[in-house]
């Protein structure tokens, strides 16, 4: 390069240069003197005007001559320069190199084409390239040289800059290479990452068509990679996520940002699984959106885990809620218990197994005349009356044995020594190991109960007394009736018997008609007396429910016929028309003699209240539902409506002339009622004043007759 740069200017002045080379050769053959002079002159001009720094030195290094440019460049006058050592023009940094070069020149006659730093008079430096042509004497001995110094500072600088820029370029190239390598690596890595990552990756166009996907993606969806690429992302979305997917897709196209979303993906076989979608947009070199790469994280496990977590959480929450609830309940229960314990009017105390009070309620303390503070800590024997201490001791022992608090009446002792009865009941308290550590006892103040009981007992005693008295009265009434009937019947026997005997001529002979008339009067009244006694006895029996009844087959039709015949004679004196209009064939399970008694009674009553000559009595029995209805109908004086309700009560008699004439016990109809009802039937009358009377009674066809049982009253 040095050579080239030196030759270039030489070529520009080709003629001169060639001439310069020729005289150099002529110096080597200085024999032609004449030529020398002109040459010297021409040389001188050439020498002086030669562009470049030219100097001539001897072998000592001293300057013999130099051209103007040399002097100008270094800042000296030509005179100053002649005789100066060339070393004085060399910069410090070039000295060593120059010395070496000078030494080499002296030894070999060759000048190294090497740039050297020179120093000008003003101290500025420049890099110069030295070339030289040697000067020889006639003996061929080298006596000096013409030295041309070319200022190559600019070249040097340019070169330096070039080198520098070359260096930079190389650096850039290296960096580029490195970057390229890195890029390749990165691409490789990316490729690996894309394909090998377990995350499902797909790259799509803005139309949503897959341009790429990784193995994981294809595998997860059950496709081959080749199948998957080219498909639409919507082909890979589950129905349920279609809308989310579309929304996400549309939003991405709008703002180029992929919002993370949970998307259910659909496999080739139609099964679905959840995934978490995230992604980055892809742009072309002009910054236009061309697609995006999406990462889809299979969420199945996360979902399962999340589901499990949710279930666990739910369980946990349920348990918590339950716990909270039971805790609340416990609190409520405790509160309730406490409230109950405190506020109940029942006296409550809690004791240890030794009988020491650990707690009691206000009611307890108040009832015993202590404050609660005083009562707690005392032995329960202190609160017990002397008479009950033994009972309480037994109660405590029994409790310790069985863990059950036996119910016991205990007399309590107040602070002032007064006592009151109470009923003790309670429940054991257990520790967490199930050992009895105490008991809570409820003491019901029995004072009022005792008082009530006493009053009750008193009342009971009074009632019993009254009952006994009544019973006695009843008994004596019964005895009285019994006695009366005996005492009355006994004298009636000879009266009636003698009347009969007297009327019989073959016993005591004939009597006069007047005597017979008197005897009839005696006998009639004796019979009435006998009937009265019978009625009294029947009424008594019915009252005491001691009347006994048969429960046998009764031929009702036959009975009605019998009565109609049997009573016909009774109708004769008053010429009463007596008719039995029974047509049905009727039977009953009942007591015939009592039925006859009832019918007799009603019929004879009808006879009494029916007018002679015009009187008519009709009797009939007929089936009515599950009973037999008996009827005794007369066209007598009738019974006023307002009197009918009393008709069947004892000793009630209508105040009429007919009644007075009839007399009677006043028990007849009440006995009828008693018998009918005892036989399970009903009796009633339909009548009005002057309209005759219709007596009815029913007897059930199948009635289990009540067996008479003596009334039992127990107190």
């Amino acid at each position: 390069m040095n050579g080239k740069s030196l030759s270039a200017p030489t070529k520009k002045k080709a003629g001169k240069l060639q001439r310069q080379t020729k005289p150099t050769k002529k110096y080597e053959t200085p024999k032609k003197e004449l030529e020398i002079s002109s040459l010297k002159k021409r040389h001188k001009i050439f020498y002086d005007e030669l562009p470049g720094l030219l100097r001539t030195i001897d072998t000592d290094g001293n300057i013999i001559d130099c051209n103007s440019e040399y002097a100008n460049t270094f800042g000296y006058s030509k005179k100053e320069l002649i005789g100066k050592s060339v070393f004085s023009f060399v910069a410090d940094e070039g000295r060593q190199a120059f010395q070496d070069s000078f030494d080499t020149w002296l030894k070999t006659g060759r000048v190294k084409n090497k740039p050297v730093w020179f120093k000008k008079k003003d101290g500025t430096k420049f890099l110069g390239l030295v070339s030289a042509s040697n000067l020889y004497d006639e003996n061929g001995k080298m006596i000096g040289s013409n030295t041309l110094i070319k200022d190559i500072t600019e070249i040097h600088e340019t070169k330096s800059k070039l080198e520098e820029s070359q260096q930079k370029l190389q650096d850039q190239v290296r960096q580029l290479e490195k970057a390229n390598t890195l890029l390749v690596d990165a691409e490789q890595k990316y490729e690996n990452l894309y394909n090998k990552t377990p995350t499902l990756l797909r790259t799509i166009t803005i139309e949503g068509i897959l341009t790429d996907c990784n193995d994981s993606y294809a595998k997860a969806l059950g496709y081959t990679k080749e199948e998957a690429i080219g498909a639409s992302i919507f082909d890979h979305a589950a129905e349920r996520s279609m809308k989310d997917m579309r929304d996400n897709f549309e939003r991405w196209k709008e703002n180029h940002e992929t919002e993370p979303a949970e998307i259910w993906l659909k496999r080739k076989d139609g099964s679905v699984f959840p995934s978490m979608l995230s992604g980055t947009s892809l742009y072309d070199e002009r910054g236009k959106l061309i697609g995006r790469t999406l990462a889809l994280t299979d969420m199945t496990e996360i979902y399962e885990a999340r589901n499990k977590l949710a279930v666990h959480e739910k369980h946990l929450q349920q348990q918590l809620a339950q716990l909270q609830k039971s805790n609340d309940l416990l609190t409520i229960t405790e509160k309730r218990y406490r409230t109950l314990y405190e506020k109940t009017p029942v006296l409550l105390r809690t004791i240890t197994t030794e009988g020491i009070l650990t707690d009691c309620n206000e009611a307890y303390a108040r009832a015993l005349g202590y404050t609660k503070e005083e009562a707690i800590g005392m032995s329960f024997y202190d609160h017990t009356a002397k008479s009950s201490v033994e009972d309480l001791k037994n109660n405590l022992e029994q409790w310790k044995k069985t863990n059950e608090v036996p119910l016991k009446e205990i007399w309590m002792k107040r602070k002032d020594g007064s006592i009151f009865p109470s009923l003790l009941s309670g429940a054991s308290i257990f520790d967490e190991y199930g050992n009895v550590i105490g008991r809570t006892v409820a003491l019901t103040d029995m004072t009022e109960i005792y008082e009530a009981r006493r009053q009750l007992e008193e009342k009971e005693a009074r009632i019993r007394e009254q009952y006994d008295e009544l019973k006695k009265i009843d008994t004596s009434k019964e005895e009285f009736t019994s006695m009366i009937s005996h005492e009355l019947k006994t004298p009636l026997t000879p009266i009636m018997g003698w009347c009969q005997a007297l009327k019989s001529p073959k016993i005591l002979g004939e009597l006069s008609s007047k005597q017979l008339q008197a005897l009839d009067a005696i006998e009639t009244n004796a019979i009435k007396l006998k009937e009265l006694v019978s009625d009294m006895l029947d009424a008594q029996k019915l009252d005491m429910k001691r009347m006994k009844f048969d429960n046998k087959d009764v031929d009702v039709t036959e009975m009605m016929n019998f009565l109609a015949q049997n009573l016909q004679s009774t109708m004769v004196p008053k010429h009463i028309e007596f008719v039995n209009s029974t047509t049905e064939k009727l039977t009953l399970k009942s007591d015939r003699s009592r039925l006859e008694q009832v019918l007799n009674n009603i019929i004879l009553n009808a006879v009494d209240f029916t007018s002679a000559q015009t009187g008519k009595i009709e009797i009939r029995a007929e089936s009515k539902d599950s009973a037999v209805l008996f009827m005794v109908k007369d066209n007598g004086i009738g019974i006023p409506k307002d009197k009918q309700s009393h008709l069947f009560t004892q000793f009630y008699q209508l105040d009429t002339s007919a009644t007075r004439k009839h007399g009677g016990s006043g028990l007849g109809l009440s006995i009828c009622k008693g018998i009918v009802e005892a036989l399970g039937g009903e009796i009633w009358v339909e009548s009005d004043t002057g309209k005759g009377s219709d007596f009815y009674f029913t007897i059930p066809k199948q009635k289990k007759i009540q067996l008479t049982v003596e009334e039992k009253t127990n107190f």
């Binding site: 005996h486 019947k489 006994t490 004298p491 026997t493 000879p494 018997g497 005997a501 073959k506 006994k548």
Partner: protein, 122 residues
């Protein structure tokens, strides 16, 4: 026919005796149970008429005494009663061998007939 009447009421005894005698029968009377038993044991009667309600030694006592000796069946007893003795009680007595009973006051015709029936074993 020999008839013994045991009744504390002498009027009744007189009546029964009069009626039975008029019918051609022989009648003896006793006014208490003990005397009646004594007569029963001393004499042979075709029919014994026994009043149940008598003071001290009642008709029941007489029956009890006769039952002990097994004499109730033998002596064709007809009970005469005015007391409020029930039909059941009478039926019980009939089971012990008493032949018949009549409630006071008596219808004398029925009475004579009944006594004659009992005597005939009906």
């Amino acid at each position: 026919m020999k008839v013994l009447g045991i009744d504390d009421n002498a009027d009744i005894n007189l009546l029964l005796g009069t009626v039975l005698t008029a019918s051609g029968h022989e009648f003896t009377s006793a006014t208490d149970g003990k005397e009646g038993i004594k007569l029963i044991k001393q004499n042979a009667y075709d029919v014994v008429l026994l009043d149940l309600a008598m003071p001290e030694f009642s008709g029941f006592d007489v029956l009890e005494a006769l039952r002990k000796d097994g004499l109730i069946e033998k002596h064709k007893i007809v009970l005469l009663t005015a007391s409020s003795i029930t039909d059941e009680e009478i039926n019980e007595l009939l089971k012990t061998g008493v032949r018949s009973y009549l409630r006071k006051p008596l219808d004398i015709e029925v009475f004579v007939e009944r006594v004659e029936q009992v005597h005939r074993g009906q």
